[in-house]
Symmetry: C2
């Protein structure tokens, strides 16, 4: 008997019929003798509906009040799922985050979990009940409801699994695992049976939508074995098949050994590049350029500063495409005080990254990547690297070609 | 400066535009120097939508889980109204019942308020904030959410007004007050400027939908001056006009003096009558007939036992029309053990009541009522009386005729 946390996304909870299917799946795991905690998302579309109502009232909704409203979607879900379990003869009980209690800081709409009091949940599990807990939310020290931001239910599930020392956290979603790259771009893309949490962290932060970045951080920090698997399969599929499906995020050095040098290729079309030309190369130049951008609450991703020539340098960085115009305006307003010659930009760029823990011990990954892109005639605009990742910025029109060429060059279609 | 509680119904909160109107009205009262607590209902249709989802999962939804779900409608409303106030430059904060806290018993879906801790609310009011609190709900001693049943937001508003010793509780609704009878039946029906809480209690329990019965009980027990008025008028109407509109539920003996003998005529089409014929007249007969009916959770309204003849008696009672078939079946199953000759019934009956504190000191109200009905050729099937009410059961086809005749006979159209 093990304690296992299940998390179901909005699509899995999208209708009362689907909720009944979730209940069947949960009951099957419980029948096998496991203790089960379930963290469901709001029914698909519900969070958007609630935020839409808020925006009809206020263009920039007050964060505390928005959390009051947005958190109700999950509350409805836990009640419905608990009923669906009761209806098939299971004992079940639902809790909102504050009832558990899941304590967060007061950063409304992007709160962080600080602690989880699992006493009530343990008592219910020991009494044979299935416990359903709202994802996405908790309460701060003043009993205000605070949500964790989009995709926060993943984080809730992993955090609950960590607090309760669960054997595994199963993230049931509408994809059947993590792929070497997006199968819509490369038809040969292959599902990974395991991935290290560091690789998953890079992939999540690079825009792969399978898991929220923070949930992967949690899984890593607390070493919670986390599996991404599909909720769209037959809920009465044998338990052994289901328990070994999807992609397991692992922490075992052993599993790394079997892995290829590169695990996957991520890409992000939501990029724009801005260059400040001919700025005097004196100490503090990066701060003077990026300070006003940060003050405007614009997040910066890749950053490059060129070798200075004649005491002048060029400075380039990327922002998300939606912030492009605003970032340009901020810099233009500061151009004179920066002493910059001019400011240019390009919103038609994409970022492409190869990720793999194997590259730690294999030289030549970067050169293989650059050669492949060169052979396809694709120019690299910017490069940034981490220990297990190489990212390049390229013209967006070459993005799909580049992904396919690299997928083939690194033989990712082979197990 | 006074502390005033506003309550807004589902129609008043029915869209984001209407919520903005509610905010304007609340702000106007606040601008006049009052401290304001607002208790809004869920947006119209929302509670039904939530209960509908629950019923798709479970024919008889689990009460605790149903409350978890149904309570979210009001939580969305308080967040939206708080934002609408913030958007027009007011300070505002919303609370769910558990955050205040409003403590209830554990009778899910029909809980009763036990206590209200108003410390947090007082602090906010003193800081100049408008406080918005969810109606319809509280928490039990184990932190489970419990709702007060349909119309429960009226009760929440009056209970909060009582706990905070508010000067007045204003129930804004889609009618502009309490009428001598339903204006759809009698066009001469007149709005009452005041009504005693005892009369209001009788009217509410007789099926007048203006206020939930329990809210009137609360208003009476704690002597909360409560006014029913319209939210559909111009929200910027001068405060003095609004503050004197609608119908005030009063507790002053003085105001009774001005009142007519009869204040209003209520009627209820949702009635059915059942007669147990030829049952042996021995001690406990009422208990033996009504015990099984109560065990089946069927509520009984009027009850008559005839004078016994030859040791046999007839026993008649009424139930709501939806329970008619089930109540007949319960009795038929017990007919032999009751020793009853037969069981008959009639589902096409209506109850009609005249209500007025004036009848305490005026004889002849009953005879006036019976004469009027007799002159119209309307047969009376059952009669029941209280100190300030006379109810009769008649054939439903005469109901509107009877209401019009009595309205005229008691001169209710005259102020």
């Amino acid at each position: 008997m093990a304690l296992i946390v299940h998390k179901y996304g909005g699509t899995s909870m999208g209708s009362t019929d689907r909720i009944k299917n979730v209940a069947k799946r949960v009951a099957k795991w419980h029948d096998a003798g496991h203790q089960i905690v379930v963290v469901p998302s709001a029914m698909s579309g519900e969070t958007n509906r609630l935020i839409g109502l808020a925006k009809e009232i206020m263009d920039q909704p007050d964060p505390r009040e928005l959390d009051m409203i947005a958190s109700t979607g999950e509350q409805v879900s836990v009640g419905l799922l608990s009923m669906a379990l009761l209806a098939i003869g299971k004992q079940a009980v639902s809790y909102a985050g504050w009832q558990v209690a899941i304590k967060t800081d007061s950063a409304f709409t992007k709160a962080r979990i600080q602690s989880i009091d699992d006493e009530k949940v343990k008592r219910d599990l020991d009494a044979g009940k299935i416990v359903i807990i709202t994802g996405f939310q908790g309460v701060d020290e003043h009993d205000n409801i605070a949500t964790l931001g989009r995709g926060g239910s993943d984080t809730s599930a992993v955090a609950i699994a960590a607090a309760m020392k669960a054997s595994e956290c199963l993230i049931f979603t509408d994809v059947d695992g993590v792929y070497t790259t997006d199968p819509r771009v490369v038809s040969e893309a292959r599902r990974l049976k395991t991935i290290t949490f560091e690789e998953m962290l890079e992939l999540a932060s690079l825009g792969s939508k399978v898991l929220q970045t923070r949930s992967v951080e949690f899984a890593g920090n607390y070493r919670v074995p986390t599996r991404v698997l599909s909720s769209l399969t037959d809920p009465m599929l044998p338990l052994e098949i289901e328990a070994n499906s999807g992609t397991l995020i692992s922490f075992e050095e052993d599993t790394n050994m079997e892995q290829a040098v590169i695990s996957g290729i991520a890409f992000n079309r939501d990029e724009a590049k801005i260059t400040v030309l001919g700025v005097p190369d004196r100490p503090g130049v990066a701060y003077h350029i990026l300070g006003p951008v940060a003050d405007a609450n614009i997040e910066v991703d890749m950053i490059i500063q060129n070798q200075s020539v004649d005491g002048k340098t060029d400075f380039t960085f990327t922002v998300s495409r939606g912030e492009y115009t605003r970032a340009l305006a901020v810099l233009e307003a500061n151009r004179e005080s920066l002493g910059a010659a001019s400011i240019t930009g390009d919103a038609k760029v994409s970022k492409l990254s190869v990720v793999g823990v194997g590259m730690r011990s294999h030289v030549g990954v970067a050169s293989q990547m650059f050669r492949t892109l060169s052979e396809e005639g694709i120019n690299i605009m910017m490069i940034s690297t981490s220990e297990i990742k190489i990212s390049v910025l390229i013209d967006e029109k070459y993005m799909e070609l580049a992904v396919r060429a690299l997928h083939k060059a690194f033989e990712l279609e082979k197990a």
